[in-house]
């Protein structure tokens, strides 16, 4: 896979990890603030896909 695309997916994976943590914490503090607008299931699925692609195609440093 193209190195730049892999790099974008890798960064996307990191920000999705951050999103899951931030959104989960927000939901714990203020129930409904995220779920009203964002389905966290889809965020989780995207995070899984991105993670799998990153694992299969490690970027050479």
């Amino acid at each position: 896979m193209n190195k730049n695309i892999l790099m974008i997916i890798s960064e996307f994976f990191y920000v999705l990890t951050g999103s899951l943590v931030v959104f989960s914490l927000l939901e714990m503090v203020w129930s409904g603030v995220v779920l009203a607008y964002i389905n966290l299931n889809w965020v989780l699925i995207l995070w899984l896909f991105a993670g799998i692609i990153v694992l299969i195609n490690p970027i050479d440093k």
Binding site: I8, V15, G18, V22, G32, V33, L35, A36, Y37
Partner: protein
């Protein structure tokens, strides 16, 4: 490397922006937020119409149905815009929407549509939110009508309260205390009348503890629709459904130096509460709209009512019976089934074979003719017959809905301050009196869209309030 940093910054900026947007939507710093829903589609804020037994393929076929409004914080005011369409044989005259006012299931209703008023070919005067309908035009303004009110029996109200002094010329206070006729169950309200005497009631109560809730009693007294006294009796200490019954307790009201007139007493309690006795020196006591005669094993009971539309129901299979209302008769054949009869507004007797009956009506109920007092103006409801009921004037707080090609649009305003909110949700209902599931799905009401505009404190008002509290 530069590209990697740029992409990283871009993605993290998107996340921060998303978090700010989410917090902004939740806080609503401007004090306003709107939601919109098409029933049947998934919506986080406006719940679906329920129960399912009263819905048929998106149509309301039974009365009432409920929906919830989830909000991220409290608001002060809501404007609900309802777009609806009548389907099939729908010809019921009244549609209303209500806001859940407390945790005892009371709703504050507002009119969506009233065909009785819309079809009334009477003279009409509209001023601000009020409309005066006159069978024969006598008044040229609502102010003129209010300054020179006609005979009370000829006036009907809709979604409006009218304060008029109600004095009984021939009234003489009783010199001795008496016990009220019968044990009652649950909550009730009654009118009483006093003149140069104390407002004096002692309620002897007992908690059945059959429900898993604590059973407080709230006693409120109103004069000219304004609360003048309030008292709470806490639960007996048993908040489970064990059925254990403690000894009876007394709770009383004794108010002196009150002006002559009618007072409303409100006994707010759950269905676990039995009022075994009411001891009073006040001779007039008439129960408003509903009374539940408790199970006391007694037969052959008499009451009086001026209600036109009367329904009866029992939850006790041992209390199915025949009930005589004036010269008419109804039979309770099934528990939980409401059976009704239409009469007129004259005072008539009700003869019950057995107790443990819930009686409901659009007037008052009394245990003796001498107890009767009803200062209320007649209210327009789905059973109103203008000419037969002798109504010459209607004063209403009502706006005819906008008629579209196939659907109508009604706008209603509710005050949310003090409304009941649980788990971040306000409760609403849509009521169509007379719409019954048992009549079949041929007639129904389709709610095409619900729009909600909420208004509350903005961030500056909120901070100002906080700072004032802190100083």
């Amino acid at each position: 490397m530069a590209l990697k940093i740029k992409i990283r910054l871009f993605f993290w900026f998107l996340l921060v922006f998303a978090v700010i947007l989410l917090l902004y939507s939740a806080v609503a710093p401007g004090g306003k937020i709107s939601y919109s829903s098409i029933p049947g589609e998934r919506n986080y804020f406006i719940g679906k119409l329920s129960p399912a037994e009263r819905m048929d393929q998106g149509r309301i076929i039974g009365d009432p149905v409920y929906f919830s409004l989830r909000t991220p914080r409290k608001f002060d005011h809501v404007r609900i815009t309802l777009e609806y369409e009548k389907s099939g044989d729908f010809n019921l005259p009244i549609i209303e929407t209500g806001l859940l006012a407390d945790n005892r299931g009371h709703y504050s209703l507002k009119p969506v549509e009233n065909k009785i008023l819309d079809d009334l070919a009477w003279d009409k005067i509209a001023e601000n939110n009020l409309v005066l309908y006159q069978r024969n035009k006598k008044f040229s303004s609502i102010g003129g009508f209010l300054d020179d009110l006609p005979v009370q029996d000829g006036i009907a109200l809709y979604n409006h309260n009218l304060d008029k002094e109600y004095l009984i010329d021939s009234y003489e206070p009783s010199q001795k205390k008496s016990m009220l006729g019968y044990p009652l169950r649950g909550e009730y309200q009654f009118f009483t009348y006093i003149k140069n005497e104390d407002l004096d009631f002692k309620f002897t109560v007992s908690d059945l503890n059959r429900n898993k809730v604590s059973d407080e009693i709230d006693l409120n007294v109103y004069y000219e629709n304004k609360p003048i006294y309030s008292r709470r009796l806490e639960d007996d200490g048993i908040a489970d459904d064990s059925g254990r019954v403690k000894e009876d307790r007394d709770v009383g009201i004794n108010l002196s130096n009150l002006p002559e007139g009618v007072y409303k007493v409100e006994f707010k309690a759950g269905d676990d509460m039995i009022t075994r006795r009411i001891e009073t020196a006040n001779s007039r006591i008439s129960f408003i709209n509903k009374i539940w005669l408790a199970d006391n094993g007694k037969n052959d009971l008499n009451l009086y009512t001026d209600s036109k539309s009367i329904t009866a129901q029992t939850t006790n299979p041992g209390r199915l019976q025949k009930i005589k209302i004036g010269d008419q008769e109804i039979r309770l054949k099934n528990t939980f089934e409401q059976v009704g009869v239409m009469t007129d507004y004259s005072l008539k007797d009700i003869r019950l074979e057995k107790d443990d009956i819930i009686l409901s009506g659009d007037g008052v109920f009394a245990f003796a003719k001498g107890h009767f007092v009803n200062p209320s103006f007649r209210k327009i409801n789905s059973n109103t017959e203008m000419y037969k009921d002798g109504i010459d004037y209607v004063l209403a707080e009502y706006k005819t809905p906008e008629a579209g090609k196939k659907s109508n649009i009604a706008t209603l305003d509710f005050d949310l301050k003090g409304a009941y909110r649980e788990n971040g949700k306000y409760g609403f209902l849509i009521s169509v009196p007379g719409l019954r599931v048992e009549d079949g799905p041929d007639d129904g009401l389709i709610i095409k869209k619900i729009e909600v505009d909420l208004e509350g404190k903005d961030i500056f008002e909120f901070l100002k309030k906080k700072l004032n509290l802190d100083e």
